[in-house]
Amino acid sequence: MIDAVQGSDIPPLGQLRWQCRRGMLELDYILVGFLDQHFTDLALDDQQLFVRMLDFEDQLLLDWVMGNVVPSDASIRRLVGLMQKELKTH
């Protein structure tokens, strides 16, 4: 459970799972769900991007995923789009 993703600077999955615990129930489901179901299938760049996203504020993360705010960073915009697509199909 806590092994780091091989050959990268990605933190151990146990650490990531804890950092997906947030102040809002909505984010608990979104982030933990995405981590468990899709994270390991992502390309290394996107894994690193997801790790970086976890440093953003709860409210902003929620606004991104709920479509209230569009991320100005193109790569984050792409990853949020992927999260929205996966969440709606599962």
């Binding site: 950092q19 102040g23 809002m24 909505e26 489901y29 409210q59 479509g67």
Partner: protein, 587 residues
């Protein structure tokens, strides 16, 4: 066992609004203050509070703290302590101004004053016209307050222990609290924090129920730590449920959906609220709608493969209306319920939202052990504030806008009281190795290896028991069965084993400690609810439908040792004004 140790003047466990507001008072007084938080502080549940904070600033309509007090006493169904309520409503005003001066970006009126919105339950002139008392920072007041307080604490050099879990309080032979044993989640190593004073500010415990709007972190850790230290919990039967949470998930679907014409149906497509509330129908009060939904499910008219929810229908409103008047609901339903409400109905079930009960405190934040004669014994060195505490200002039912107010006023008061206490008590109390062993034993227990029940399996079983036996539908028979089932879960806890014994970021170990906390609290809820034989505020019983002021105008006090219940009279005498005597609660 050699333990790493740190020493501080004050230890605060929990980094939401209550903990951070207390910490700020202490750090500004140049005291050494440690804040322990199991998640990064700005990920505390305060961030989810949208509505705002009540204070009679009179920026929109005429207002004063005495009207606010009347509304709060009435809203509490007369179970709130009127001295504490007067204190809170008076202190609301300087507390909000202090937040403003600390940089909280409150929304503004055209004249530059703080914007105030109207909420249900607010009145002018003791039950007269609608008041507008809720100070808001757009629809993200909790977020704004939490981030401001965190930044101010960083400036004031508060010492943060981020991602540390509070295991247990350290209590000496005389009952004084000397600090706490904590666990660094990253390394799995224990850390003993000695403190002259300890404040519990760990928030609510909504995770005791299967369906809750609370974040996963809300596992009532501070309440359970208090129980294990011999401190009782008060009024735990009073839990607010919102009728329409997303089934199996718990996120709130706002009442505005029904206000805009959405309605509930059962598996037969029947608009069942017409049977329960012929006039108000789907707009009946929260408890009536919640109980109706549970009745439909219990009587076999639930929807879905498990027949465990009902449906909230809005598609008849049309896509344009949904987009215009209910923004967010469509996206939220798609993501969390997997349905597009413009096409199909949303599966809903009542969701546990807020606990009015908690660790008994006086209005200065001291944790107290109440007696049936009304006296209170202060627990030396221990304070509590916020949702984990019970002052009691919410009594049987909390008003909107009073939860942020509670955490801020009583976090601030506790901080100020600790400063006063430390002036007269500058020394650490001695701590023997023996008194640390009990707390350490709680950690060692999870090193047992071998076959056993998994944490997840027992947690799921427990939360379902709580939902079925201590949720919105409370009869003697259902709750008596619930007490036995919670006892059985408590026994099974001994057979739970961790599959993974590693230390670094072993979240399974933390979840096991959280499960122990949840089960301890669960018993306090179901037992207190079983014994209160009346309906009052959020505690609603079909077998005792009326409020009974003759026999039940009193607080329930649950002690873990022997699963014992005691009662304490309600403080009906305010500090300076006349008592508000109990009356029927009509709006």
């Amino acid at each position: 066992m050699t333990l790493a140790r740190r020493r501080f003047d004050a230890l605060i466990i929990g980094a939401g609004g209550a903990g951070l507001n207390a910490a700020l008072q202490l750090a500004n007084a140049n005291l050494r203050v440690a804040v322990v938080s199991k998640v990064f502080p700005t990920r505390s549940h305060t961030v989810a509070a949208q509505g705002g904070v009540n204070a009679a600033l009179a920026n929109v309509f005429e207002d004063n703290w005495h009207w606010h007090m009347f509304d709060t006493v009435k809203g509490s169904d007369y179970l709130g302590d009127q001295d504490a309520i007067e204190f809170m409503c008076r202190e609301a005003i300087p507390t909000v101004y202090e937040l403003e001066h600390n940089g909280v970006p409150f929304s503004r009126l055209d004249n530059g004053r703080i914007y105030q919105r109207a909420f249900g339950g607010q009145s002018q002139n003791f039950g007269g016209a609608q008041a507008a008392r809720t100070c808001a920072a757009a629809d993200r007041t909790g977020h704004a307050i939490l981030h401001t307080l965190y930044q101010q604490n960083i400036r004031a050099r508060t010492h943060f222990f981020d991602e540390y879990f509070g295991v247990d309080l350290i209590r000496d032979e005389e009952g004084a609290i000397l600090g706490a044993l904590t666990l660094e989640i990253e390394t799995g190593e224990p850390l003993l924090i000695e403190a002259k004073t300890t404040l519990l500010a760990t928030g609510g415990c909504g995770q005791v129920f299967r369906t809750t709007s609370n974040a996963h972190i809300n596992t009532g850790d501070g309440m359970a730590m208090a129980l294990r230290a011999g401190v009782p919990l008060m009024d735990m039967e009073f839990f607010q449920f919102h009728p329409t949470g997303i089934s199996g998930r718990g996120m709130l679907i706002t009442e505005g959906v029904r206000g805009e014409g959405g309605y509930l149906i059962n598996k037969d497509g029947e608009r069942f609220m017409e049977r329960y509330a012929p006039n108000a129908k789907d707009l009946a009060s929260r408890d009536v709608v919640a109980r109706a939904i549970v009745t439909e499910v219990k009587e076999g008219r639930g929807c879905g493969p498990n027949a465990d929810h009902v449906l909230l229908k809005v598609d008849h409103l049309g896509e344009d209306i949904i987009a215009k008047r209910l923004p967010g609901i469509r996206e939220s339903s798609k993501i969390f319920a997997g349905v597009d409400p413009a096409v199909e109905p949303i599966p809903v079930f009542p969701t546990a939202h807020y606990v009015m009960g908690g660790i008994p405190t006086d209005r200065l934040g001291h944790v107290v052990i109440p007696s049936s004669d009304g006296s209170e014994e202060v627990v030396p060195g221990l304070y509590a504030a916020g949702e984990c505490a019970c002052v009691s200002v919410h009594g049987a039912n909390r008003l909107g806008g009073n939860s942020l107010l509670d955490i801020l006023v009583f976090g601030r008061a506790a901080g100020q009281q600790i400063i006063t206490h430390l002036k007269d008590n500058p020394d650490y109390r001695p701590m023997s190795d023996e008194i640390i062993d009990k707390a350490v034993a709680r950690l060692s227990r999870w090193e047992q290896e071998g076959e056993g029940i998994s944490v997840r399996e027992l947690r799921d079983e427990f939360r379902k028991v709580m939902e079925d036996h201590a949720g919105v539908f409370r009869t003697d028979e259902i709750m008596s069965e619930g007490v036995e089932k919670v006892k059985a879960v408590r026994e099974k806890l001994k057979d739970v084993r961790l599959g993974d014994q590693s230390k670094v970021f072993n979240t399974a170990r933390i979840e096991a400690l959280e499960l122990e906390n949840l089960v301890d609290i669960g018993m306090s809820i179901v037992l207190s609810a079983l014994e209160r034989k009346e309906s009052r505020g959020a505690h609603s019983r079909p077998d005792y439908t009326e409020r009974d002021d003759v026999n039940w105008l009193k607080h329930s006090v649950y002690f873990q040792e022997g699963d014992r219940l005691d009662y304490k009279p309600v403080q009906t005498k305010p500090l300076t004004v006349d008592t508000f005597p109990p009356k029927p609660r009509v709006y």
